[in-house]
């Protein structure tokens, strides 16, 4: 059974109809998307995209029950295929209990989406974005499973700062997270000759503060996340010392216009041990993006962004150590449930999204990408 057919069956079983069901306080929602990628010069995101590829399918079903006014439980099952990444197995995207004491204080426990930056927790929810691909410098789709969620607890809430100062939303969390075995990092390590025997991971903790300013539509925020990674392999081990990822961002919505920007930075060193040999890999990752969009009508939205990534610890003149992406996007909502997107990327550098297994003859420095998606969400 193809992954697309599996997704279709999953959605049909769980919903029974095309509309969200509401049995007492139980809610069921879901989405399915199908993408297409065509690229010049190189194959992108583990797909045979230079010949045009449809190997990009995504879907999820969520079930939520409001047990009491303050307590909500739920889970979301997710399935995706992106070229050689993902696969037929259904994964738990999140599964948590959420107790909201009042508007200022709440607790979540379980597998929780990690709130970080503008889009981290929602980066796999295609239906909410204009963009077919989010800025890959900050939200690389081939590795979205790594920062997406953690197993642990979270405290959250919103504090009013007074009528003239807006509100402050906060999130603090701690737990464990791991590198998905079907994601891009795992594949890159495997392509480098290290056969991991378990999912590398470790302790993570962090928080997010976002100021909803008194200027309606303007949000400014910062996030910090500390992550440790350790993994064992047949040939040796992978060790990344606990490192800090800091994120600073702002977004502004005014009428039909939307603007946003984000800056991310993390510095660490990955140490790969293969037998007696030790390979240190210094990382000083800087990435940022700036985006803007305009809603032409109820159904049509267009936009553009620039996404920039560089590893400052390496030779930044080498295409393998940077990625610069100019993007133009459009989205059409056929109705409340169906939508279509199309997007052009003008990529310079090969630091993100290119794999040796799908580019055996080497990677050329420049790539143009056409990406399109249709989606259904209820």
């Amino acid at each position: 059974m193809t992954i697309g057919l599996r997704l279709f069956v999953l959605v049909c079983i769980c919903t029974g109809s095309l509309y969200a069901q509401d049995l007492s306080e139980i809610q069921i929602h879901g989405f399915v998307t199908q993408g297409f990628v065509f690229s010049s010069h190189n194959n992108y995101l583990t797909m045979r995209s230079s010949a045009g590829s449809l190997q990009w399918t995504d879907g999820a079903v969520s079930v939520t029950d409001s047990v009491t006014d303050n307590l909500r439980v739920g889970l979301q099952l997710h399935m995706y295929q992106l070229g050689q990444l993902g696969g037929p197995d259904i994964q738990v995207d999140w599964a948590s209990g959420d107790y909201k004491v009042n508007d200022h204080l709440g607790f979540r426990a379980g597998k929780i989406k990690t709130v970080m930056g503008l889009f981290n927790d929602s980066q796999d929810v295609d239906a909410v974005f204009l963009w077919t691909l989010l800025p890959q410098s900050s939200y690389p789709i081939d590795n979205q499973g790594f920062y997406l969620a953690h197993l642990g607890g979270e405290v959250y809430g919103e504090v009013p700062l007074g009528k003239r100062a807006g509100n402050l939303e906060y999130h603090g969390y701690a737990g464990q997270s791991s590198v998905p075995v079907n994601g891009g990092y795992w594949k890159q390590v495997a392509d480098a000759g290290l056969t991991l025997t378990n999912a590398p991971g470790g302790t993570t903790y962090g928080g997010d503060l976002r100021w909803k300013t008194p200027l309606q539509g303007l949000i400014v925020g910062s996030s910090a996340d500390v992550q440790a990674i350790d993994g064992t392999a047949v040939e040796g081990s992978l060790h990344i010392v606990p490192f800090l990822l800091s994120v600073h961002y702002a977004q502004y919505t005014k009428g039909r216009f939307y603007f946003a920007g984000e800056y991310d930075q993390s510095t660490t060193s990955a140490i790969v041990t293969m037998g007696p040999a030790v390979f240190p890999l210094p990382l000083d990752l800087r990435s940022w993006f700036a985006m803007g969009s305009y809603r032409i009508s109820k159904k049509v939205q267009v936009g553009s962004y620039y996404s920039h990534y560089v590893n400052k610890a390496m030779d930044t003149t080498q295409p393998a150590n940077y990625s610069k992406d100019w993007v133009v996007s459009g989205r059409y909502d056929f109705n409340s449930y169906f939508y279509g997107k199309i997007e052009a990327h003008f990529l310079r550098g090969t630091g993100l999204g290119f794999y040796s297994s799908t580019n055996p003859d080497g990677v050329k420095p420049n790539t143009n990408v056409l990406a399109a998606k249709i989606g259904f969400s209820f």
Binding site: E25, Q27, R72, S96, A127, E158, G217, Q301
Partner: protein
């Protein structure tokens, strides 16, 4: 009912009628909701899921229309959003596990029927009549 009671009822009805006339919607709540006035910021917070309580601390249950002119007017006037933006925002909340979507109704009569029977519920319609057993909330800045 006392003269004062009748006067307050008349003022409320005039307020609701005026709102409906002026390209606006009427904010309606279940009769057990204690408050009579609600700030615009609280309307926005309750209907976007940022707040689950009214100003007096009682639990708020927002309900919406699935579409139509009243839905669009409400979103534009009180949330400064289009239906697409409103939908996207709630989808984000639901699919990130941070909340449950408000109940939504095809018709205003179905919404009014739900508000009539559900404690804490708050919604909006283009107009109400005297026979509707709901409370009309006055929105203040």
């Amino acid at each position: 009912m006392s003269k004062v009671g009748w006067f307050v009822l008349l003022l409320g009805f005039i307020g609701c009628w005026s709102a409906a006339r002026a390209q606006d919607v009427v904010l309606v709540a279940n009769n057990d909701v204690a408050i009579s006035n609600i700030r615009v910021a609280d309307v926005r917070a309750i209907f976007t899921g940022a707040k689950i309580r009214f100003a007096d601390g009682s639990h708020a249950v927002p309900v919406t229309l699935k579409g139509g002119p009243a839905h669009e007017v409400f979103l534009r006037n009180y949330l400064d959003e289009t239906p697409s933006e409103f939908r996207a925002q709630w989808r984000k909340t639901v699919f990130t596990g941070q909340g449950a979507m408000p109940k939504s109704f095809d018709t205003e009569s179905a919404l009014l029927e739900y508000v009539t029977t559900t404690p804490g519920s708050v919604g909006y319609v283009s107009r109400i009549s005297l026979k509707d057993d709901v409370k009309c909330l006055v929105v203040v800045k």
